[in-house]
Amino acid sequence: MTTEELTVLAEKIKIGKATEEETIKFHEEFNKLIKEVEDLLEK
């Protein structure tokens, strides 16, 4: 997912319009992003 897609999904979550599947997908993708920073700093 791109940053833009994640941002749109985040806004949907904020206004309570995201489905449960979308919310879970968001967290999976968001976790990946966080993990990238973690990996970068550990290298």
Partner: protein
């Protein structure tokens, strides 16, 4: 195994198979745990000592990624991310961090840590809210 049997029974009787609430909650709890652990890890490695010795290019990549995380978190309504948006903008302006002073780097890390903590709190609250709604 029990769950499989449950599904089969329901399918045979043409009743719509719905993922049990317990399983959904377990999935959410696992995700929450992973997210919390990852944030804690980042807080552990996102330190002045680590960034001080990093190349300017690496610092730029790290700060850019943190800013992306912040943009998404702000869109999701993480108050701390929204509040620190201006400060994080300054963090990203450290693109040419070759000549950034140690004070500036420390300040940037401070903002990043606050934001990461905010994201952690937001995720926890969101899951708790969903759990309350499920119950």
């Amino acid at each position: 195994m029990k769950f499989e049997m449950f599904n089969k029974k329901k399918s045979e009787s043409n009743v719509e198979v719905v993922e049990p609430t317990k399983e959904k909650n377990e999935k959410k709890n696992k995700l929450l745990q992973i997210t919390e652990e990852t944030i804690e890890k980042i807080k552990g490695v996102f330190t002045y000592e680590k960034l001080k010795n990093a190349t300017p290019e690496k610092r730029k990549i790290v700060f850019d990624k943190v800013k992306t995380i912040l943009i998404i978190a702000a869109a999701a309504g993480v108050t701390l991310a929204v509040q620190n948006f201006g400060a994080m903008d300054n963090v990203t302006s450290l693109e040419n961090t070759a000549d950034a002073s140690p004070e500036t780097i420390k300040e940037s890390i401070g903002v990043g840590m606050v934001v990461l903590s905010g994201i952690g709190i937001w995720i926890k609250n969101m899951y708790n809210k969903e759990r309350e709604q499920t119950i």
